[in-house]
């Protein structure tokens, strides 16, 4: 392919002023800046998510030895471990799978917490649904129960939208690249 050969020739020609030449001092300044990598964002959001969920639980129950609190601490440990195990010098497919594994771990935690909440409230949920679809729903005009019911329905939707706009946007490119490499293998 003639075009590619031409490009190859140009690509390997070192031309002055082709790129900005940074000094060692400038490079040193760069090393001190904070990374904005996808892995770091996933890690930070995951930690924040656990802190929020654990925090809510703690302030509501005021119990230190709560199962969900312990679960949160365990996940904090595992997430930190997996984050620090990410090796930037691994091959691209392994690196991408390490980041996605970190994301998957956070997702498992969220699912565990949310399913726990739903199970705890299963009885009430049944009651709300029964009321909601009942014939005399309007007569009862129980605004409080409607609110709770709508809240329970809306919560996963809101959560999904939050996830889509955080992890979804963050990992879109990574997922695409990982799937492309996975398909190749």
């Amino acid at each position: 392919m003639e075009d590619l050969e031409l490009l190859k020739k140009k690509w390997n020609e070192e031309r002055p002023n082709e790129f900005r030449r940074y000094t060692e001092e400038e490079l040193l300044v760069m090393t001190q800046k904070k990374s904005v990598s996808v892995a770091k964002w996933v890690f930070m959001i995951g930690i924040l998510e656990i802190f929020i969920l654990v925090g809510i639980r703690f302030f509501r129950n005021k119990e230190i030895l709560d199962t969900k609190l312990i679960l949160g601490i365990c996940f904090l440990f595992f997430i930190s471990y997996f984050y620090h195990k990410i090796n930037r010098a691994d091959n691209t497919r392994t690196l991408a799978s390490q980041i996605l594994r970190l994301r998957f771990l956070i997702l498992i935690y969220s699912i565990l917490i949310l399913s726990g909440e739903v199970m705890e409230r299963a009885g009430k949920l049944y009651h709300y649904i029964k009321q909601f679809i009942g014939d005399n729903l309007l007569e009862r005009s129980d605004a409080y129960h409607y609110g709770r019911f709508v809240g329970l329905i809306a919560f996963p939707i809101v959560l999904y939208l939050i996830y889509k706009h955080t992890y979804g946007r963050l990992l879109k490119k990574l997922n695409e690249n990982y799937n492309e490499l996975k398909t190749l293998s």
Partner: protein
């Protein structure tokens, strides 16, 4: 990091910074993103340097981390690129070339490369850098055979993008 190690790192990075610039050129299309990606690669190299055992050459290790950053770690910031910035990029490219016809051909090639997928960009870049298939396969985490197949497809796609 120990001062002598830091000094060594900066020296090697300084000598090989063209590699990082080339990765940025393939993966970005404006100077601001180029600068952002360059900085992110430098940070990733810096963070990984304590684990660099010297089994491979610094430039090879740097190439791998640079590509990994572009493919798996870097995320462009959501922002509007000012038009004058884009123009500056074009002016730089045009200034590089002497023959207007060749200049136009090379520009068309770069435009087409920017329309490839990230993995295809990596393959084309490694082709331009004359990397053997064994190394390409190792860097991406695929088999050598698949690297060959994918490379041919990427070249074909590039051809179609240029000539329609």
């Amino acid at each position: 990091m120990k001062p002598d190690l830091q000094k060594k790192f900066l020296q090697e990075l300084n000598e090989n910074q063209r590699i990082v610039h080339k990765i940025c050129k393939i993966y970005t299309d404006n100077p601001t993103d180029h600068e952002d990606l360059f900085q992110e690669i430098v940070i990733q190299l810096w963070n990984s340097y304590p684990n660099f055992r010297g089994e491979a050459k610094f430039s090879t290790w740097m190439y791998r981390i640079g590509l990994n950053t572009a493919l798996a770690l870097f995320r462009k910031r959501d922002r509007q690129v000012p038009t004058h910035t884009m123009e500056t990029m074009e002016q730089i490219k045009i200034h590089d070339e002497t023959d207007p016809e060749i200049e136009e051909q090379v520009k068309a090639m770069y435009d087409a490369i920017h329309r490839l997928s990230d993995v295809e960009k990596a393959l084309i870049m490694m082709y331009l850098d004359d990397k053997p298939y064994k190394e390409i396969a190792e860097i991406l985490g695929i088999t050598e055979g698949n690297a060959r197949v994918k490379m041919n497809r990427a070249k074909e796609k590039l051809k179609t993008l240029i000539h329609g």
